[in-house]
């Protein structure tokens, strides 16, 4: 079974600064996907960024980028130029695209990191 660990329950950052959220995972699979989702106070789950395990290049989406270390099973999210609207719970998630055990395409989530951006 796959597990995802987010060891920082809460973090804060000053507006316009950079913050990094940590995520580690455990799997014996070699082909998988990793995601970061954002959940603002509205409760809506919003996809932030995706990383394919077979790609060595780290994914980026505007102010959001990841540091994917496959050997260390680490997948951190960096938010640059933090904005007040970035205040949210952030979830790291893991997925196996294909599996003979029936667990394909199921997201396994970490417990989340509450990020607060301070003015």
């Amino acid at each position: 079974a796959q597990t995802v660990t987010q060891s920082q329950p809460e973090m804060s950052v000053q507006e316009a600064e950079t913050v990094t959220l940590s995520c580690t995972y455990d799997t014996s699979e070699s082909n998988y996907y990793l995601f970061w989702y954002k959940q603002p106070p509205s409760r809506q789950m919003i996809l932030v960024i995706r990383q394919e395990a077979y790609k060595q290049q780290n994914a980026t989406e505007n102010r959001f980028s990841v540091n994917f270390q496959k050997a260390a099973k680490s997948f951190s999210l960096k938010i640059s130029d933090s904005q007040l609207g970035d205040t949210a719970m952030y979830f790291c998630a893991f997925m196996i695209p294909f599996s003979s055990s029936g667990s394909a395409r199921q997201l396994t989530f970490g417990s989340g990191t509450q990020l607060t951006v301070l003015p």
């Binding site: 995802v4 996907y33 995601f35 989702y37 409760r43 809506q44 789950m45 919003i46 996809l47 995706r50 979830f91 998630a93 997925m95 695209p97 029936g102 395409r105 199921q106 997201l107 396994t108 989530f109 970490g110 417990s111 989340g112």
Partner: protein, 113 residues
Amino acid sequence: DAGITQSPRHKVTETGTPVTLRCHQTENHRYMYWYRQDPGHGLRLIHYSYGVKDTDKGEVSDGYSVSRSKTEDFLLTLESATSSQTSVYFCAISESRSIYEQYFGPGTRLTVT
């Protein structure tokens, strides 16, 4: 935004009563999922569907059943609600063999008293 709606958005019910939550999509996506969100646990998969009438269990399926008679609708039923099923329930959809992102509905807050 993906066209996903959930109904009801809020519900309070009593222990032992049946409850059905509905997820409706307008994207014609093949895969649909039900998750529950509880403090300290993130989201956990209850059941999922990979096509009409094709469903399977997730990590926390005990006490829940699902049905999918049409592509656009995925129903989650609590046959006899218990207080441990008080939670926020999210529906998600995904499509295509090469795109694995899941898009989430707005959630349903269920309270079992």
